[in-house]
């Protein structure tokens, strides 16, 4: 029996100005009909290039070596006509639909129906009613109402768009589905639902699935086998359970460590009782923030929150997108005026504006999610760090202060980083620059909004370790805002779970994550891939 998909010594090089850059270097993989295979790796490891090579979707600058056999037929030698016929009908792709994989100006019904019409035999194009019925059927399979066919992509949520992508992939009843980061950018609960739908459809129809992700736990939840890719090569391959349980290659270990098992003490990086018994640094009392919505009503983004951050404490604020956690953070920093209630810093109410607010902002600094967009691409590292010092007219030698801040963020030797522009740095180094910019002002509280969400697995651990050391050495308190429960388990002392603008459960990490009492917390924990909650 020929395999559904077979890669033989596949290699891909990109021609660039700097010469040929290899992306995939000699990969052998086999996928039989009905099997599921996960492909894991960090950004830049070549996993997406590999996926695109299967349907020859790579840009012209790519040079492909080796063979890609789809049902025994080499994709590289197919004529354009044959290739077009094979695309989607034999193998289809589930792209990252939450982003821009759907055409923004066409209705999703049309987009789902398009491949059906394209692949119909000449003269046998299905009629409009047949198409409509088929689209409705497909939407039903992914648990969306048929009426959504008339919606435009922007009218759907991220999870719904991803379901549309899946419905579209099934349109021509292919035997192989390639899913490229299908749940990245979705939060845990939605991710669990989408994975559930995808897994069920693949199993019901006996499809072959190749799923690509940087998240090992997502792959483990859906695939029988996992292959780990690193620098263009497959470094480890095996049954999911084995690979997750006992990774052999150092890179697989790093990947596995980035998605901690909640409840496993090995992943608990923060020492017990590390938090000092310091007094309360920041407190909110019945904080409310309302926004007018489009219908003329009011959205309660923050609906009465009492939160406390003690000195030298790391608190994780956990919740889904839309739960109001970012609004809460903005209010804590004085970037958003509360509608009701108040924020107390060091026992004093937050000043409403002017000089006093500026002085407060020196005390509480923000670290954003994506260091690439948080840094001005045209400012050097020195300028980026010195900007805050200049705004606040911090006394002292500017060069010394900048060097000091960079050293604290562990960019050593700091002088070497002064003239460097952000694009010359790695993702982890960029995040360190952002942190250095915050540290330069000598704050007492860091508010970190998803500080590691856009970083690769291997860098993630370093940044978390840095946050912990800053607390130990500088006595910094940190409020970490995240949808990643594993992150809370990694470093936080206490967890606050936010849902619909309210804190539904607050307490020490061990208590909230291991013995949750609120149904929402339970649900959130259950949605973490593998449901790996022990204890």
């Amino acid at each position: 029996m020929t395999a559904l998909l077979e890669l033989r010594d596949l290699s891909v090089q990109y021609r660039t100005e700097r010469g040929e850059v290899p992306a995939v270097r000699g990969v052998d993989l086999t996928l039989a009909a009905g099997q599921t295979l996960g492909l894991a790796g960090e950004s830049g490891c070549g996993k997406s290039t590999l996926a695109m090579a299967v349907l020859r979707l790579l840009p012209k600058s790519a040079r492909i070596g080796g063979e890609v056999l789809l049902d025994g037929e080499d994709v590289a030698t197919m004529s354009w006509g044959r290739l077009r016929a094979v695309r989607w009908a034999q193998a289809s792709v589930v792209f990252q639909g939450a982003m821009h994989a759907l055409n923004p100006v066409r209705r999703i019904g049309e987009q789902i129906a398009e491949p059906i019409t394209v692949h119909a035999e000449a003269g046998h194009e299905p009629s409009r009613t047949v198409l409509r019925r088929r689209v409705a059927e497909l939407l039903e399979q992914v648990e969306l109402p048929a009426s959504r066919a008339d919606a435009y992509p922007h009218e759907l949520s991220g999870g719904q768009k991803q379901r549309v992508m899946i419905a579209m992939a099934l349109a021509c009843e292919p035997r192989l589905i390639i899913a490229d980061e299908p749940t990245t950018a979705l939060d845990v609960i939605v991710q669990a639902q989408v994975l559930d739908v995808l897994g069920r459809l693949v199993a019901d129809n006996g499809l072959g699935l190749m799923m690509i992700s940087h998240d090992l736990s997502v792959l483990a939840a859906t695939c029988e086998r996992i292959a780990v890719m690193y620098e263009g090569r497959i470094v480890e391959q095996g049954p999911s359970r084995e690979l997750m349980g006992a990774p052999k290659h150092p890179h697989s270990k790093a990947l596995a460590a980035a998605f901690p098992v909640v409840g496993d003490p090995e992943f608990r990086l923060t020492p017990q009782d590390a938090a000092g018994d310091g007094g309360t640094l920041l407190r909110t009392e019945g904080l409310r923030v309302d926004f007018p919505d489009r219908a003329g009503g009011t959205t309660h983004a923050v609906a009465g929150v009492d939160l406390e951050v003690r000195e030298e404490e790391i608190v994780a604020l956990v919740g889904q997108s839309g739960s109001g956690k970012t609004t809460l953070a903005r209010t804590l920093l004085g970037l958003q005026q509360p509608t009701g209630g108040r924020v107390l810093f060091d026992g004093e109410p937050l000043p409403a504006g002017g000089r006093a607010l500026r002085a407060y902002r020196r005390q509480a600094q923000l670290v954003l999610q994506d260091p690439t967009s948080a840094l001005n691409p045209r400012h050097t590292v020195y300028q980026a760090v010195a900007e805050g010092l200049r705004i606040h007219r911090v006394p002292g030698d500017e060069r010394e202060l900048v060097a000091d801040a960079l050293a604290k963020a562990e960019l050593r030797p700091p002088e070497q980083f002064f003239p460097v522009l952000p694009h010359e740095l790695s993702g982890g180094q960029r995040q360190r620059v952002v942190i250095a910019g915050a540290l330069a002002l000598g704050p007492r509280l860091l508010v970190a909004d998803e500080p590691v969400a856009s970083l690769d697995a291997s860098v993630r651990g370093e940044i978390l370790a840095l946050l912990l050391r800053l607390r130990a050495e500088l006595g910094l308190a940190t409020l970490v805002i995240t949808h990643d429960i594993g992150l809370a388990w990694n470093i936080a002392d206490r967890v606050a779970v936010m849902y619909h603008g309210k804190l539904v459960e607050v307490g020490p990490v061990e208590q909230v994550l291991l013995a949750p009492t609120h149904p929402y917390t339970k649900r959130l924990l259950a949605a973490v891939p593998r449901g790996a909650v022990t204890g």
Binding site: A89, A101, V190, D293, G296
Partner: protein, 341 residues
């Protein structure tokens, strides 16, 4: 509590309220904005020309002819210039509402008639040129972007930029010389053409060729460049990869998916340009003696003919405002995302 938990994430709220209510409010808002802009143009026109030409228009009108003080006073009274400035303004606005823009000093005829007379030829010339230039520019832009860096792309962009930087009058004269006697050198029709429709139309078309070609050559570059760059922006969009993966032919990917999205920014430019249609051809009309608004403006400026200039300003400004309004409304039809916000 658990019931509320079933919906894990809320989709963006569907448009609320009465169907079409949002659209009506949107249109009303845009109309209101346009009206305010138009009023500003009227006020500005009135004030501006009195600042630019502070002297007494009656003296300017009679400076070549012997006129007694009584005759001058009578002329002043006839033109309404003996009243206070605010009063003159009210008279002017009242007239405007009835479609009366006053009387031209130089032609001694109602400004409205004069403008309407010249409007037709201008719309014909600039309208034809803009439509053709848009089609040409968009087509070349799409082809260039799709094969970026190809010989075709480089040549067509180069030619377009050269023409864009050439002075209009110079290009017009060059064309005149280059084509020899093939096309008439000026005017809109010969006086001896038979009056039947067909011969008249052929004659006008014959006269139209040179000014039209000149105008197209000068303006198509902007459509080309905007279309090219906005398509290049879309070229790396993920949904194009999706379309290719679905097995669409390359030209279908371009026509169905890439171009509709890339057209959106280009639309704005096309409509801005359409607004300038009526005023945009002053040089071309002057070079080819085309009896349109451009030529009329040139003549009014020479005089100077205040009521005529004021009227022209209102028409030019009004055209830009109306076209912008149309662009806003059309954008809403073309881009579903604008409808939502």
């Amino acid at each position: 509590m658990t019931a509320a938990l079933v919906t894990a994430e809320e989709p963006p709220a569907p448009p609320q309220g009465r169907p079409g209510g949002g659209t009506l409010r949107y249109v009303a808002g845009k109309l209101g904005g346009a009206a305010v802009s138009l009023l500003s143009v009227v006020v500005l026109g009135f004030v501006l020309f009195r600042v630019v030409y502070p002297g007494d228009p009656v003296l300017a009108m009679t400076h070549n002819r012997p006129a007694t003080a009584a005759q001058q006073d009578e002329l002043r009274a006839r033109l309404g210039l003996d009243r206070s400035v605010p009063h003159q303004f009210l008279d002017y606005v009242r007239g405007l509402l009835h479609g009366d823009m006053g009387t031209s000093y130089t032609f001694s005829r109602p400004v409205t008639d004069k403008i309407l007379e010249s409007l037709g030829p201008t719309l014909l010339l600039v309208g034809t040129a803009t439509v053709l230039a848009t089609i040409l520019g968009l087509w070349l832009g799409i082809r260039g972007a799709w094969r970026r860096g190809s010989r075709f792309d480089r040549t067509s962009t180069g030619i377009a930029l050269t023409l864009w930087s050439a002075p209009t009058f110079w290009l017009g004269m060059l064309l005149l010389i280059a084509t020899g006697q093939l096309f008439p050198s000026g005017g809109i029709r010969y006086p001896d053409t038979p009056p039947d429709f067909l011969s008249q139309a052929v004659d006008v078309a014959h006269h139209l060729v040179l000014p039209c070609v000149t105008l197209i050559a000068v303006i198509y570059a902007q459509y080309l460049l905007v279309m090219r760059s906005s398509l290049l922006e879309e070229m790396n969009a993920d949904y194009l990869t999706t379309a290719r993966a679905k097995g669409l032919r390359d030209d279908l990917v371009r026509r169905r998916h890439a171009v509709p999205n890339a057209l959106l920014p280009a639309m704005t430019l096309v409509f801005l340009q359409l607004g300038l249609v009526v005023s945009g051809a002053i040089t071309v009309e002057t070079v080819f003696s085309w009896p349109g608004l451009g030529l009329l403006t040139y003549e009014a400026l020479e005089a100077p003919d205040l009521p005529l200039l004021q009227g022209l300003l209102v028409v030019f400004g009004g055209a830009v405002i109306v076209m912008n309004l149309l662009a806003d409304l059309l954008y809403r039809v073309l881009d579903p995302r604008v409808r939502a916000s």
